[in-house]
């Protein structure tokens, strides 16, 4: 049974990794697309251009907020799964093979991902206003 649980945790970790990767890549791509569109639109003073610009600004905010919450949840999920694995390894007496400091490494890595996403979002947000 314990092997099944171990496999399940590993599967969950893989799913978690995939989800987080999708969050990061999608949000960065959308930020860059929004930056390109808004930069092009910002040169025009017409009302429709301003509406398009603010729509994309709203999109940037929503996408980045969702990405941030998703990444925080992803980090918490990973933390729980790895903690479970560690307990499992401890029960089996093989905890020496898994360094618990990996948890804090993941925390740092997730924070860095969040900063990257957030900064591309902020750049995509402010640049059109500077150009306009």
């Amino acid at each position: 049974m314990i092997e099944r649980v171990h496999e399940h945790i590993i599967e969950e970790l893989k799913t978690n990794t995939r989800t987080d990767t999708i969050f990061i890549l999608t949000s960065i791509a959308l930020n860059l697309i929004s930056l390109a569109v808004n930069t092009a639109v910002a040169n025009n003073n017409s009302a429709s251009s301003t509406i398009v610009m603010f729509t994309f600004v709203a999109l940037i905010i929503v996408v980045n907020l969702v990405a941030e919450i998703g990444l925080i949840r992803g980090r918490q999920t990973r933390n729980k799964l790895i903690s479970g694995l560690l307990r499992m390894y401890k029960d089996k007496g093989v905890e020496g093979y898994y360094d618990p400091s990996l948890l804090s490494d993941y925390k740092t890595r997730y924070n860095l991902f969040m900063i990257v996403v957030l900064f591309t979002g902020l750049v995509a947000l402010i640049v059109p206003f500077i150009i306009k």
């Binding site: 025009n44 600004v57 919450i69 206003f129």
Partner: protein, 179 residues
């Protein structure tokens, strides 16, 4: 008789090969002093100068005035000098007066130029060509114009949104991390 014929024949070749080119050269040399005078009489010249202080900034939807001077720098009187412009699409450029009936040598005419970009002109750098021409001569001057948007309004809006968004992100981060 033979001697005379030979002499005549020699003289003919002298006339053909020496005398005629010499005459031509002499004619050309004699006429040279007249060429500059002739050329000077036909010299036409037209200059356009911006005489007002113009800081190159123009405002959309408003008349932006420049004062230019059209000067005849040639030796002949120029008549019917028409002023025109080559400006970006939908820009209005008005000259007052729009033409000069006669401009004597060294004479000049002050012209008021009103440049009006359309209301929705985006911020940027533009080039306007002012042209003065008559059938004999044409002169153009390039005027660089810059449109600045309403100073800082969009930047302030952007900065407010930025601060609010950063605040939301920080709040969300700490709130969800605590859980």
């Amino acid at each position: 008789m033979k001697m005379f014929i030979r002499l005549y024949s020699n003289n003919t070749s002298i006339i053909k090969f020496i005398l005629i080119p010499v005459i031509i050269i002499l004619l050309v040399l004699c006429s040279l002093p007249f060429y500059p005078a002739m050329a000077q009489n036909e010299k036409t010249g037209l200059d356009i100068l911006i005489i007002s202080s113009f800081n190159n900034t123009v405002h959309p939807g408003q008349d932006n005035s420049i004062v230019i001077e059209v000067r005849n720098s040639g030796d002949t009187t120029l008549t019917n000098v028409v002023l025109s412009s080559n400006a970006p699409a939908n820009w209005t450029v008005n000259f007052s007066p729009s033409s000069i009936e006669s401009l004597s040598p060294s004479g000049s005419q002050v012209i008021n130029v009103d440049i009006m970009p359309p209301n929705n002109s985006p911020r940027g750098d533009y080039n306007i060509t002012l042209i003065a021409e008559n059938p004999d001569i044409s002169q153009a001057i390039s005027v660089y114009a810059q449109i600045n948007s309403t100073p800082g309004i969009w930047l302030i809006i952007g900065a407010i949104i930025l601060v609010v968004v950063i605040g939301i992100f920080v709040y969300v981060y700490f709130r969800y991390t605590r859980r």
